[in-house]
């Protein structure tokens, strides 16, 4: 049961990511990315992170994907890569590098067979939203304030970038 609960979202996430990589149309890519984000949010729920589950759905699946779709449709840049790369070795190098990274991952898995089980125990709510709020507003108060400043800076930056020069 555990394996099934983990396996289905994991397979969906990988399928979404590969489809995003291979899709020629940027709108389709954004929608496959949405599928991937939704699957990862289910995994967050399995990992006892209900707060991050909600945040992932609202911020990533809601705001960021909508922003991507909006910009793709605004620019009309669905198909904008008919010409090959300027550097002819880039594609081959990328595939070789990706395969090397996957081989390294397999070696890690072979030499370090982890048997640390994840306890799926929903009663043990170590990361209930109340606990996260407690950590956020006591231990991590300064980063929280800095995050609000970062968001404000991004907001002002976007407005400044797009103001009309008279």
């Amino acid at each position: 049961m555990d394996v099934l609960l983990f396996g289905i979202p994991a397979v969906v996430a990988i399928i979404g990511a590969i489809a995003m990589l291979l899709s020629r149309n940027a709108v389709h890519s954004a929608l496959y990315l949405l599928l991937n984000f939704a699957a990862i949010s289910v995994l967050y729920l399995l990992l006892q992170a209900p707060f991050l589950f909600a945040t992932q759905l609202i911020v990533y699946a809601g705001a960021i994907i909508v922003l991507f779709l909006f910009v793709v449709m605004l620019l009309g840049a669905e198909r904008d890569e008919d010409t090959p790369h300027a550097n002819p070795w880039q594609n081959r190098g990328a595939i070789v590098g990706g395969v090397l990274l996957l081989v390294e991952l397999c070696l890690l898995y072979v030499y370090n067979p982890g048997t640390i089980p994840v306890a799926v125990d929903m009663d043990n709510a170590f990361a209930a939203p109340a606990e996260i709020a407690k950590a956020l507003f006591t231990t991590h108060l300064l980063p929280f304030e800095i995050a609000s400043f970062v968001l404000l800076t991004a907001l002002i930056g976007v407005v400044v970038l797009h103001q009309r020069r008279s």
Partner: protein, 100 residues
């Protein structure tokens, strides 16, 4: 039982797909989406280890990563729209004005 290493392996696979997206695709929009995929893979690792050690701090860190990713996407897409207005393309090979 699903071990933490399974989650780490999944996030490694997603990270490699993100790297391939950054290097293989030519549209700046697609590169952006692949970067988001890589951020998500890193977040998944953090949440998996937070669950293993029953610590809430890593989840707070993931929250901050999501915040910064939102800000980054807003500014990045605004820059992309400005570049598109000027150059009429999102091809990253043509964005070489700063090249020496």
């Amino acid at each position: 039982m699903v071990s933490t290493l399974m989650y780490v392996a999944l996030s490694a696979i997603l990270f490699v797909i993100g790297i391939l997206g950054v290097t293989l695709r030519k549209s700046a929009l697609m590169v952006f989406m692949s970067v988001e995929l890589m951020l998500n893979a890193a977040n998944l690792t953090l949440v998996a280890f937070a669950n293993q050690w029953k610590s809430v701090d890593a989840q707070v860190m993931v929250f901050f990563v999501i915040t910064v990713a939102a800000a980054e996407v807003a500014v990045g897409l605004a820059l992309l729209v400005m570049i598109f207005k000027r150059k009429k393309t999102t091809d990253i090979d043509l964005m070489n004005t700063l090249r020496g």
